[in-house]
Structures are given as structure tokens and as C-alpha cells.
């Protein structure tokens, strides 16, 4: 997209992002996108291949003990209270498989 973003590009990215951009706003998004992409395109001028060995961060590969961190059910009510729709302690969602 180093050329110019068009409304179709924006609509495609929006669909991938699970967002709807109204048709009337696609142009404005595309225009903003152009100026942002032109700005980040400066990275093309950066030479990153210095031939050096990659440096591992001081902290890496962190694991915790594989143990139960809390008593079963301790957080159930607090978390379930945030559900938009619940049946007992279950989160209620739309049926995605049908027999029709």
C-alpha cells in the first residue's frame, strides 16, 4: 500500500478487524491512513542488517510452576457477574451449529 490507500483497502482491513466503517467514512479513513503510512514508510531508509548477533534480553523464557493457583470456583461468581447473558454459571451465547 505504498501507493495510495483506497476505500476498498480500508473496508477490507475493517472486515479483518471485525469493525464496520460506514461507507461515508471510508474516504476519511483512507486519507488519514495515507498520511500515517507515508510517515512510517521512513523505515524503508533504515538499514537493520548490521551483521551482529541478535542480543537476548536479560529476562527471557519465564515459566511459572504448573500448580493450581487458586481454589476451584473462587472467582466464578465475580467473573460470571460480568457476563452480558448467563445461565447459572455458564456464559450464554448464540448457537453456531444447527441441524437445519
Amino acid at each position: 500500500m505504498s501507493t495510495r490507500a483506497n476505500p476498498e483497502d480500508v473496508a477490507r482491513l475493517a472486515a479483518l478487524s471485525r469493525i464496520q466503517v460506514p461507507v461515508g467514512e471510508l474516504e476519511a479513513f483512507a486519507k488519514d491512513f495515507d498520511s500515517i503510512v507515508a510517515y512510517i514508510d521512513q523505515l524503508n531508509g533504515l538499514h537493520t542488517d548490521t551483521g551482529g548477533e541478535p542480543v537476548l534480553p536479560a529476562l527471557h523464557n519465564v515459566f511459572r510452576e504448573d500448580t493450581n493457583s487458586h481454589v476451584g470456583g473462587e472467582w466464578t461468581e465475580a467473573i460470571a457477574s460480568q457476563f452480558p447473558a448467563r445461565e447459572g454459571n455458564s456464559l450464554s451465547v448464540k448457537k453456531i451449529l444447527t441441524h437445519e
Partner: protein, 472 residues
């Protein structure tokens, strides 16, 4: 000196509480009433909490019994940015998406503050999901700069900064992904610290860019910033990226420090009176025996473009969790896909959508090498350059922002807003600690406005930052 209780620093308030010249209840009442009174105009708080009488009584009892041994934060009313979880309170990240979201647990920093006996005045306004530099992107109205209400307080931690600057809290916590503590600190005349990546647990902070985010203090003095930092830092098993104090060994510095200045970055784009204030500050430090060293950081000019690749990439990934199914805004359509799309379309504001789309773009097949991987590689170069620079200096200095606080609406195109972060993002990309401290004032339209000097130290070098910024 006739300071009102709400105008106290943490150090002054702690001392008054110990001396018995005021009680925890009196301090709370004054701070909370000023917060209520000023919030109609400033909009620093999205919510001011009712007095927690149990916590106030417990803090008073602790001061009475432990006296000098009581924690300095005991009984101190603090403001907390709306993206840090406090159990039982709404944490919305200033988004419609989370307007109904009640935190089910305390962030580690909140638990630590509670252990210290601190009190919480309320949750502060911010740019939605911390995406912005002005609080203009909040879903719940802008916050005004208390020093000039026609201007922004900076952002994204603009509510926290305004609350402290207007003495609606003694101090505050913010979060910093690309400058969101340091830039509002500069615009509101405060001290703001972005700690070393990992030194403060991010557990219970609503994520924006996980490799960049840090929680840190916004305070009226350097001593206060150190008190809050000491209270909230430390390794936390709940955050796998958190580090202990011993991971980055510190070299001892004497009473005088070598201050590196990348003069090649300061030749253009900075207001002339901001540069004058910067040079005067350096002269003052030189006069006190510190050495000023010219350094070179050539990759710095690529830091902001790299940041605006990495941050949206991580943001689009992090924000994919908001799908309208488990918590937060839940719009319902004909299909499950409609549920997702309608919830996200309704819940996110324009800047958030823009960054999600941008993140989706830079991570997509065909572009990931040119943008995301290139930007990640630039971080390695930046770290190497800073490491080399720190061979000849102890801290690196430049102005925090190119100009003082701007007027509402002045930066309506995205790239001009992004340029607010031009000096601050590098510390997030490298992980190094950085602090903004007021370095004087400039005048705009007859109003005197503060500007900040920005100091960076090697990983784990917070003590160096506190020691030099005390001198500014």
C-alpha cells in the same frame, strides 16, 4: 507559608499526619471536596469515589500506632488512571466498550498501595485505551489543563496529571506506552516517571502495547515520585515480564554525573524558547559540577515511525479480546459475527479504530517484513546506540516535548498528534527508565506554561534519574 492540605506533597502530608497537625479524615475531606468542586470544569476524574471510612480509620490507626514507621503513603489520597483495576470499581479505559466493566481483582500496584495504607480519590480520564496525547480521544469528554483551561493537559494520562496539578489529589498513577506519563507531566508542570520495563508489574493494567506499557507516578516533586516508585515496583509472579531489582546491576556514580545531550536531534522542530529553557537548565547543572557531553544517537529519527508500527500492531492484537461476548459492551445482531462487529463498531472510538486497522495492516502478509519486523529490528539498533552512549555518560537529556501544551483541536490530523511523542517513545522501545521534570516556563498568549526536561538512564537506573532531577 499557608499551604492548604490538598496542596501538600506526599512528603509534606506524611509529615503533617505524623505530627498530628491534621488527621487522615481531614486530609481526605479537603482533597475530596476540592476534587468535587473543580471536576465540573477540569473533568480530571471520570468518577470520584465515596469516602472509604474503613480505610481512612485503618490508616489513622496505623499512623497513631506505628508513628514514624508507618509507610509514607499511609492515609495519602491518590488519583488512579482509569486503565488500572481497583476491585469493585469500574475500570473503563475511557472507552464505551468498558463503561460497564467492574474490576474483579486489584492490579498488583493497587494491592501494593493498599498494603501501604494509601487511599483512592477516584479514577481519572484518559485517551481511550491510552491512545493519544491530549485526552481528546476519551469517550467521556476532554480533560482541561488546570494551568490554562483552553489547552490540553497532554495525554494519555491527562486526567491523572490534571488531578495532581489542580491539587485534586496529592499524587497519581498513570501508564506510559509512548510518553503518556512524561508528556502530560511536562504540560502540567509535574514530575512523571516511566520506569524500566518490567520493574513495575503490569498485572491488572488494561493492555495497549504489551512490550511498551509501564505504570508509573505523576507527582508534585521528585521525592514523591521516588516514594511512589519504591512502593509499586518489584518482581511479581503474576507478570512474567516483571524483573527484580538485581537483574540490572548498577554502577556507582559520584556526586556529579555526566549528562549526554544528542545535539544533532535538537537542531530543528523545537520551539526556540523551549530550547532556551533547556540550555539554561544544562548551564545550571554544569555550574553545579555536572559534565555535559555531546552524544550521537543516529537511529533516533526512526524511533517514532517504528513506534507507530509496533504500538498499533500490539494494540490491534490486545484489543481483539473485546468481542462483546464475555464482558463489556454487548450489542446483539442476527449472527455471532454480527455480535462481534456491532459490539466493536459501537464500543470503539475513531482513534482506536484507526490504530486497530493500522495494526491489522502492518501485521498482514506481504507487509509484515517491511513494517513490523523492520520496526522490531530498529529497537535492537536503538538499544545498542544507547548502550554505547552510556559508556560516556550517566544520563541522556533532551526536552520532553518540542512545545508547551497546545490548544484543543490544534492537532486534528493524526500524524501531528503522533509527533507529540517524538522524544518520549524511544524509552519505551528500549525499555529504559525516563523521567520528565519541570525545567522552567514559556509564555503563550500571555499565559505562563511549564516545560519539562527529559532524562533517560540505563535499565534499572531510576536512582540516577531521581538524583539528577532533584538538581533541576
Amino acid at each position: 507559608m499557608d499551604k492548604k492540605l490538598n496542596e501538600y506533597t506526599i512528603v509534606e502530608a506524611a509529615s503533617a499526619l505524623r505530627a498530628g497537625s491534621c488527621t487522615v479524615q481531614e486530609l481526605w475531606d479537603v482533597v475530596a471536596s476540592v476534587a468535587e468542586e473543580k471536576n465540573a470544569e477540569i473533568n480530571a476524574y471520570l468518577e470520584i469515589f465515596p469516602a472509604d471510612t474503613d480505610a481512612i480509620a485503618a490508616a489513622q490507626k496505623r499512623i497513631d500506632t506505628e508513628k514514624e514507621n508507618a509507610p509514607l503513603l499511609c492515609g495519602i489520597p491518590l488519583a488512579i488512571k482509569d486503565n488500572i483495576l481497583i476491585e469493585g470499581h469500574v475500570a473503563s479505559a475511557a472507552s464505551k466498550m468498558l463503561a460497564n466493566h467492574v474490576a474483579v481483582y486489584d492490579a498488583t500496584v493497587i494491592q501494593k498501595l493498599k498494603d501501604n495504607g494509601a487511599l483512592f480519590v477516584g479514577r481519572t480520564n484518559m485517551d481511550e485505551f491510552a491512545m493519544g496525547s491530549s485526552t481528546e480521544h476519551s469517550a467521556f469528554g476532554t480533560t482541561k489543563n488546570p494551568l490554562d483551561v483552553t489547552r490540553v493537559p497532554g495525554g494519555s494520562s491527562g486526567g491523572s496529571a490534571a488531578a495532581v496539578a489542580a491539587h485534586m489529589a496529592i499524587a497519581a498513577l498513570g501508564t506510559d506506552t509512548g510518553g503518556s506519563i512524561r508528556q502530560p507531566a511536562a504540560h502540567c508542570g509535574l514530575v512523571g516517571l516511566k520506569p524500566t520495563y518490567g520493574s513495575v508489574s503490569r498485572y491488572g493494567a488494561i493492555s495497549l502495547g504489551s512490550s511498551l506499557d509501564q505504570i508509573g507516578p505523576l507527582t508534585k516533586s521528585v521525592a514523591d515520585a521516588k516514594i511512589l516508585y519504591d512502593a509499586i515496583s518489584g518482581k511479581d509472579e503474576k507478570d512474567a515480564t516483571s524483573v527484580g531489582k538485581d537483574l540490572y546491576p548498577q554502577t556507582q556514580s559520584g556526586n556529579t554525573l555526566r549528562i549526554g545531550v544528542p545535539n544533532h536531534l535538537l537542531e530543528e522542530g523545537i520551539d526556540s524558547d523551549v530550547m532556551t529553557a533547556f540550555k539554561e537548565t544544562l548551564e545550571k547543572l554544569r555550574g553545579e559540577g555536572h559534565e555535559i557531553v555531546d552524544i550521537s544517537l543516529p537511529t533516533s529519527s526512526f524511533a517514532l515511525p517504528a513506534y507507530y508500527v509496533i504500538m498499533p500492531a500490539e494494540a490491534s492484537t490486545n484489543l481483539s479480546r473485546y468481542d462483546g461476548i464475555r464482558y463489556g459492551l454487548a450489542e446483539r445482531g442476527a449472527t455471532l459475527l454480527d455480535d462481534y462487529v456491532q459490539s466493536r463498531t459501537e464500543g470503539f472510538g475513531t482513534e482506536t479504530k484507526r490504530r486497530i486497522l493500522l495494526g491489522t495492516f502492518v501485521l498482514s502478509a506481504g507487509y509484515i517484513d517491511a513494517y513490523y519486523r523492520k520496526a522490531e529490528a530498529s529497537r535492537e539498533l536503538l538499544r545498542a546506540e544507547y548502550k554505547n552512549a552510556f559508556a560516556v555518560c550517566d544520563v541522556i537529556a533532551f526536552p520532553t516535548t518540542p512545545a508547551p501544551a497546545f490548544r484543543f483541536g490544534d492537532k486534528s490530523d493524526p500524524v501531528s498528534m503522533y509527533l507529540e511523542d517524538v522524544f518520549t517513545v524511544t524509552a519505551n522501545l528500549t525499555g529504559m527508565p525516563a523521567l520528565s521534570v519541570p525545567m522552567g516556563t514559556v509564555v503563550r498568549d500571555g499565559v505562563t506554561l511549564p516545560v519539562g526536561i527529559h532524562l533517560t538512564a540505563p535499565n534499572g537506573g531510576e536512582e540516577k534519574l531521581f538524583s539528577i532531577s532533584e538538581r533541576v
